[in-house]
Symmetry: none
DNA sequence: GTGGTCTAGACCACT
DNA sequence: GTGGTCTAGACCACA
């Protein structure tokens, strides 16, 4: 109980990201049901209205859809999920770059860092 | 007022990192004075004891030293600061890798990500 | 209840010494559990935070280790305990020398004092 | 202000020792005047009655004498002062032995300790 | 003014 | 139960 929210960003945005991550990781399959507003609110220790707001935005984006009286489901569109995977990766990349930039590494240190990432992925 | 702390990790550790970042970025020069316990506590919106704990650990690590009754100062040892720069970069790298890993990118997507980073740094 | 602390030195340092003495005397065997923070605080009539501080420093020195949720234990390293025995003896020697020095004994009186110590230990 | 008293022993005894030490160290010459009850009470942060009690005992022992209306003076008897020097040394020796004994040093360690004391005094 | 220490009392995660 | 962290507020020595 109690989800680690970044206090500087709106919680509903962070809930949206969390749902996207679960889908992208396959924890929720395409077309699979996401937790009910009440369950997720309890799990994360936030107000149900905040979760509802997140779900509303996700639906507006077309990432989830609602079956009246049955629950909320992740899109069945694989391409949509793939797109989200790349968006999340891209935003992780930008956060990483921003953080590294602020540290003021020299060229050699950046090259070394790049080499390590490459090594990890080969 | 109010510093964006990650609620899952001890605040004093995050204060230690913040001071190291300021020194690494050159905001505090080698041998320069860091904020007083009370000032930083006010700036970050935490209890002075928590800042004092962070300073105590930083001194034990040899990253800062204190002049009795005068204040706390960043080490004058350039190598020590350089070491911290690389440590901070390395931990940023690991956080990035961990996040990317959880997203389950395929080889092509990872290669593309790497290419973008390389481009940014060349 | 009520431990005889020297009011001129930090209590947490004296608690560290007390724990070391108990281990060196064999009252706590190598690998044995030391009193819980709360128990020792009650026994010595000090605040639990002060005992916790002492335990933290002892752990940093490698003289004790903690098992999460279980308690704090003296190191199993005999050499480490032996080292502490000699350090405590050395500091007792220095205190003795300092006190004697301040009394201004002449050579004969010092020799006599030495003779008595020798006699006691032979 | 505030003298470092050992809370486990009567304060008046510790005041007696302090006066004896000052005389033995020559801070107060034979026949010299010791501080007034009020001055010493203020210096040490204790009740004047406690100091008066200490002076009374010192006089009973013959270590000091009182000139009515003028103050209290250390004895002019050199032998008496010398005797006190040896008593203080002897009690320091006993405290040292007691402390060392509790540490459980082996023969070699005791011999080494003795050697160091000898070295310091040669 | 500075950091260093201590108390009081609270909440947390882990076993 | 255990230690770990945090807040609030106090007093201290040092410069």
């Amino acid at each position: 109980m109690g989800f680690p929210f970044d206090p500087t960003r709106p919680i509903y945005l962070q809930i949206m990201e969390e749902i996207k991550k679960r889908a992208v990781r396959g924890e929720i399959p395409p077309g699979g049901q996401i937790p009910s507003v009440r369950d997720l609110a309890k799990e994360m220790g936030v107000n149900p209205n905040t979760v509802a707001r997140a779900y509303l935005e996700l639906e507006r984006e077309g990432f989830v859809f609602t079956k009246r009286g049955q629950g909320t489901y992740v899109t069945q569109d694989f391409a949509r999920i793939e797109q989200e995977r790349e968006r999340l990766a891209e935003s992780a990349r930008q956060r990483f770059l921003k953080e590294i930039e602020s540290l003021g590494l020299n060229e050699d240190q950046k090259a070394e860092l790049l080499r390590k990432i490459e090594e990890d992925w080969s």
